[in-house]
Subunit: 874 residues, 2 copies
């Protein structure tokens, strides 16, 4: 069968987007549903593909089909290409399956030359219009097709204006325009060495070449890379009869949305200009009118317009963004597409449409990009105020939201500032667990190193606090309490700065911040998501406050409660250090028993906040050296406190030093070498649970062992935990159910998950570490090459943000299968950063996990993503 390369408008439909491009498919569809569209035809994306395969040439079949459709167009419209008396003019536009606005080329008014321009003048009785169209065509064709720089045309145009002493194009006379046409043609000849091609067919083919050629221009390639647009074979080309909004006062042009894209209100929204072409609307020289004015000016046209808008929305079942032109009182629609909108509007629109019966809940749920919801949950900079502000540096948008405050350069200063009632932005090269209270006190955090999963980023997201990490543009001088940017801006302690955690922008001075608002529509949408999703959504929270926030956002338990953050509390760290520095078990036990009531108190608060839901508590994870000071003066201070010498203390610190702490003495390895830590933590967890239960609070404690790689590690610790727990439970004379399970975060654990499942009641995939070890990337260091990897196409996505399904995912799948084989009812969850990433959540749903766990502020995102995962795989 002969390939069909060309579709006359009306022969295609929306579903043929891949072949006809979004624009072409929709133009066909519009015609089919009776929307007035100027006729034309689409050359398929397949033609584009073959164009590149055939060394940028066309087969005879393509040429034939274009000619046939051109003829059909001439017949339909009653005009002829190159006919001096009644010339056919067309536009040549690109249109891929995915919208890439402004990336590819367009030619308008094609078909004009010295003869047809006169025909157009006569036919329209408007010489000035004809000449203006001609000079625009020359300029566009010269630039886009012939490669003559746009600025050269502008220079010539300006020269004529200067000669005439006028400012606006509209002030140019017919004579001026004629002069300009001559100059433009001369310019083309000078620059290209050839005459401007006056034959419309030549113009057409050269323009088709240019549009197909623009598919692989640098701009388009990087746009596709940046927007992760993949799997397209090329662009289509749309050739359409020109209609003109600038043919006088009964003509006009505009853009409009079927609903308000800012707030979602169900009213037409848009603007238009009479006697204008599309570019005039956006150029900002004349001020367009709101679309409501059209109703007053031309109620008849407006009626047709608003009915068609309604028809389009009803047909596409989504809010539409259209372009229209009125040519001498006749309304044409030139384009329709789903309109871009704010998150607030998106939520309102989908909920409204379900209520209006226009779409169903499932469609509504699929319409919202889960990550978008972030916008609703965090403070935002006032967009108008932001426009006038000075961005002095850019970093990674590590934790969304906005924050304003005085620059401070130490955790202590942040706390001081907060206790004085001031807002502080904590600025550090990188944060460490010692900074935790300062981070909590600060309104925002800015670091110069570290990636999206650095300490600062992870902790800030957990706190729902605005954070910009890895801001290499700034040079932090902690000693002198200041930083300088690459452009030389100096910020000192106390200076006001503003952070936009959603974009990664650092702004000098104060910008107004707007508080988030979660409306009823949001709640409705979440309820629909909950009806559909299979995955439970838990949260990662280490304290009652975060637990409360997460519950408000819909969390159904805690998937990861890290116990080490509790160790850094100022009062406790001393005792923790005492424990570490004890040379023997007795000393450690003594110190640990001082920590026990404090931990018990923490856990009690968390159990209370999460009443009725499971709380998974992970035993101490980081290597002990993280709890010891690093700076000389801090070491000296500690030595004094501990009544030891600086050199002895340094020796201990040196002994604990590790070359690769990530692969070092941490996780369950700690509890195995120092079982007394596991004993104390179990006592605190079970003690807290018993206390809460006695007060009638329903508790579901789950004790989780980190970093297990061999089942023997789990067996060793499970034994200690159960013995300790059962003893306390027995003493209390209560009964208490608790589970003992493990993280799966070491490749070996995944590989031997069948052995591990014989002893673990649950698995929780620690995908941060699992990704680190499966890839051999240190997440603290990988920034050095991950960006380069994305640039050259080795990595599509940062595997610390979205689960690498091929590699890490294979291990997870394997672990799930092996685990279920041995323990069919094993509870499977994920508590790495990926638990809040929609793509990763889809994967978790696919492999059949029981739940995902993410930071409190990502809980709504996870709920929606979990629902979408079900819908996508229906």
């Amino acid at each position: 069968m002969t390939e069909k390369y060309v579709y006359f408008f009306g022969e295609g439909k929306t579903e043929m987007k891949q072949l006809l491009g979004g624009k072409g498919a929709n133009l066909s569809e519009m015609i089919n549903i009776g929307v007035p569209v100027p006729p034309g035809f689409t050359i398929t994306t397949q033609t584009c593909k073959e164009f590149y395969e055939n060394n940028k040439t066309y087969s005879d079949e393509v040429k034939k089909q274009v000619e046939e459709n051109l003829k059909k167009l001439e017949e339909k419209i009653g005009k002829k290409f190159g006919d001096a008396s009644n010339p056919l003019l067309v536009s040549v536009r690109s249109g891929a399956a995915v919208s890439m606005p402004g990336m590819m080329d367009t030619v308008l008014n094609l078909g004009l030359n010295d003869e047809t321009v006169e025909g157009l003048a006569k036919k329209t009785g408007n010489e000035r219009f004809a000449l203006d169209s001609y000079r625009r065509f020359l300029q566009m064709f010269g630039d886009v097709v012939l490669g003559v720089r746009h600025s050269l045309f502008e220079k010539n145009l300006q020269a004529v204006k200067d000669e005439r002493g006028v400012i606006f194009d509209t002030d140019l006379s017919v004579g001026d325009l004629k002069k300009i046409v001559v100059r433009f043609k001369q310019l083309i000849k000078n620059e290209t060495g050839s005459d401007f091609p006056s034959d419309p067919k030549t113009q057409l083919w050269k323009s088709i070449d240019a549009v197909f050629g623009s598919w692989n221009n640098d701009r388009a390639i990087s746009y596709r890379r940046l927007n992760e647009i993949k799997g397209l074979i090329g662009t289509a080309v749309n050739i359409q009869v020109m209609v003109f909004g600038n043919m006088g006062e009964t003509s006009g042009t505009g853009v409009a949305f079927t609903r308000n894209p800012a707030n979602g209100e169900n009213r037409l929204y848009g603007e238009y200009l009479m006697n204008a072409q599309g570019e005039d609307v956006v150029a900002g020289i004349r001020t367009p009118l709101p679309i409501s004015e059209l109703e007053k000016e031309n109620p008849e046209i407006y009626k047709q317009f608003s009915e068609t808008m309604k028809k389009l929305e009803t047909h596409y079942k989504d809010m539409q963004d259209i372009e229209f032109t009125i040519q001498e009182g006749v309304l044409y629609f030139l384009q329709t597409r789903n309109g871009k909108r704010t998150t607030a509007a998106a939520v309102k629109i989908v909920v409204d449409m379900v209520k209006e019966g226009l779409t169903d809940k499932e469609t509504a749920l699929m319409r919202i990009e889960p990550n978008q919801l972030d916008q609703l949950l965090h403070k935002q900079l006032d967009p108008i105020a932001k426009n006038n502000s000075k961005v002095i540096a850019r970093g990674l948008p590590a934790s969304p939201g906005a924050a304003v405050g005085n620059a401070v350069f130490s955790a202590l200063e942040a706390q001081k500032s907060a206790s004085d009632g001031n807002r502080a932005i904590l600025i550090r090269k990188e944060t460490s667990p010692e900074d935790i209270e300062g981070m909590d006190a600060a309104s925002g955090i800015l670091t110069s190193t570290g990636g999206m999963t650095s300490h600062a980023a992870v902790v800030a997201r957990g706190m729902g606090k605005c954070c910009i990490a890895g801001c290499g543009d700034i040079n932090v001088d902690e000693e002198n309490k200041q930083f300088t940017t690459k452009q030389g801006v100096l910020i000192k302690e106390g200076d006001y700065i503003t952070l936009d955690g959603t974009t990664g922008e650092v702004i000098k001075g104060e910008v107004r911040v707007i508080d988030p608002e979660l409306g009823e529509d949001f709640e409705t949408l979440m309820t629909w998501a909950d009806e559909i999703r299979k995955l439970k959504v838990r949260t990662n929270a280490d304290n009652p406050k975060d637990s409360d926030i997460a519950r408000k956002f819909g969390a159904e338990g805690i998937g990861l409660c890290r116990t080490e953050h509790m160790f850094f509390d100022e009062e406790r760290i001393k005792t923790v250090r005492e424990m570490i520095l004890s040379g023997n078990k007795e000393g450690r036990e003594k110190a640990l028993q001082k920590i026990r009531p404090m931990q018990e108190g923490d856990f009690y608060g968390i159990f209370k906040a999460m009443e009725g839901y499971p709380v998974t508590i992970r035993l101490l994870d980081p290597p002990l050296h993280e709890f010891l000071p690093k700076e000389d003066n801090d070491i000296q201070e500690l030595a004094n406190e501990m009544e030891t010498t600086t050199s002895q203390l340094k020796e201990v610190i040196q002994d604990l030093h590790e070359f690769n702490p990530m692969l070092g003495h941490r996780g369950c390895r700690l509890a195995i070498t120092y079982p007394e830590i596991a004993v104390m933590q179990t006592q605190a967890i079970i003690g807290a649970a018993l206390k809460a239960q006695k007060q009638g609070i329903k508790v579901i404690p789950e004790i989780m062992i980190p970093l297990v790689g061999k089942v023997e590690e789990l067996v060793f610790l499970e034994d200690i935990i159960r013995k300790t727990a059962d003893e306390i439970i027995k003493e209390s004379a209560q009964s208490l159910q608790y589970k003992v399970g493990t993280m799966i975060e070491i490749p070996r654990a995944a590989l031997t998950a069948d052995q591990i499942a014989e002893h673990a009641e649950f698995f929780s995939f620690g995908t941060n570490d699992l990704t680190q070890m499966t890839f051999g990337y240190s997440r603290d260091d990988a920034g050095k090459f991950i960006n380069e990897y994305k640039k050259v196409g080795i990595l599509e996505k940062d595997p610390f943000q979205t689960i690498d399904q091929t590699g890490v995912g294979k291990l997870i799948k394997m672990a799930c299968e092996l685990g279920r084989k041995k323990r069919p009812n094993i509870k499977l969850g994920i508590c790495g950063e990926h638990g809040g990433d929609p793509d990763s959540i889809e994967f978790c749903n696919m492999v059949g996990l029981s739940y995902v766990s993410c930071s409190p502020y990502r809980v709504p995102i996870a709920r929606l993503a979990a629902a979408q995962a079900v819908l996508k795989n229906k």
Copy 2:
């Protein structure tokens, strides 16, 4: 069927070792082949197992069978248990399937009491002998069975000697012995609160209890743990009629080997004493005579003895170690087992036995423990000189051999010392790649930190140089050029010390060193191994010298040539640093082009040394910061050289700093961010190959890309490598075959090996890194918990020494299968440290690798292990 718990000697055979223990099975076997053995019976290991299962009691069936066999024994020997006129005396000995010398208990002369001792005296006409036997029995039974401390008996014995004023036991009179018997019985009563049990049956059952009980004493448990003895169900108990070598001048006792266990010479070797019991031979009070004397003293007995020895060796087809007793002119064999021997002897014996037609080549090959060969390849301390030396510290036996020299504390000093013609021992906390030349110059290396796979250990093994690593017993003070041991010994620069790399002992002063000798027998054995093995054996070598050594040992190519060691050469490191510090590609390329001819020279030398064999060269692997100085004064020096400021240089170093360098910017990640490095290295490799080929040297270059985790990395670099290589080849007008392949050392690479095999012509498993990442252990840090893990049984073996088949092995198998699926003829090898470990080699053979690669000095071990792997899986 009733379980048979007791076997009369002769009912069993050697193959029943698991049930009867080694001793019991062999005693039966000896009787069956006509060797004179005192009769007796064996209680099975199954009985031991049930003994523990039944709370240390016996079933009626066990009791019945013991009684039956006891009766049979009485009948056979014509004596009766407890018969005052003709008493039966027996020994009760342990004997597990695996020999555990001295670990479990033995009771001799059982059956004696106040009545039977008189019968024995009368029957033998030797009252003194009877009383001496009785007091020995009391002492042994009291100690072993009743738990009365051995020293208390000795005290009583000494008291009597003191009273009598004599020195030797033999000087004691009948009266003295009677007094001792009384005192011993009193001692037992005082200590245990009960009388000594005079009933022989009671003595027997209590002794059986004691022997079974000793299976799980602390000594035995730790012996099994240390010697990795597993899978035994318990010990057997052998009850055997006593024969006495101390019944006068026609009696005697001795031990002997069928061949010389020191050098393997095919002549009887042993010693004996007349009128003595076994313990006298080893006690060293009287000097035993060489076995050759027996021929002169008693030619008839000797004839019977030597014929039986011949019979035993022919029967067991291995060199035997026997114990014998002559009782009043009658020869008895009490035990036979395969004799322990030196490696040199072992090799000579198996080769001789094949020549003699006693065994076949396969048996010969299976007889040598591959690791033993190490003894033959390295210098050894003179064992006699060593006996008189002072061990001041112990570390890990990181690289075998021996070394003597003056203590030096920096690489520079080691080089200086060597150039002055002195031998130096380089002592460091840890070594780093910068020390490489000093290590090469030193005769031995001692470090206080790091494990068996630390930098020092790996490099030293590669160099075949003696090294003790991780010697925590010493405190190295590099600044003051000295170290102190835990016991307070101070060693200063220039002091002589001696290292025994085979045992890990550090000795103060000079000890004589013996050079290794590889004889003809060794070569013969190796030839047999080569005939059988399927795995090729390559070597890890970075220079022509090591390549030469390895070829001499039989290496069939290079499996891993690390290119970074070449970068540390003093002259080159400057240029390497210049490259790193260049802020741009041009600067880096300029520096690299200076390095190129040097690298090309290195590769040329290696190709020449490995003529005709494949040489796998790995592109630069370590992170760049390893090439930069760490100490302040070195940084300052470099800053001066590079004409930059110290603070600027420090900033660069800070920028390159990594938290987890093992998971950092290294391996192919370097070559992807700085492709110019890959270009230069390819130029150098291919350039050298072309040069060598032009001279008629056959070269087979294989370019290996390290640390690939995603196929995209490989594709990116393969493209660069092939373009660069093909260009140079084209210019040369020669033709040259080369391969491009990859390390599989990242879990993700193993998981996606099918994708990778589409582009890699070979895989080389880098099991060091693969183990690090699969387990999440940093090999530089894991020492902190690996020992603890072995102690509590979480790890059986250090996974950095022997491949963890369950986890890491699963990944390797997966990678092999996936790789072969996509590329059936893919070459598969291993180049991690495991390539020289016999257990790991067996695994490599099983999964069907093409070759293993190991350090030069392990090549013979690998050849033998590869042959054994084939034989074991026949």
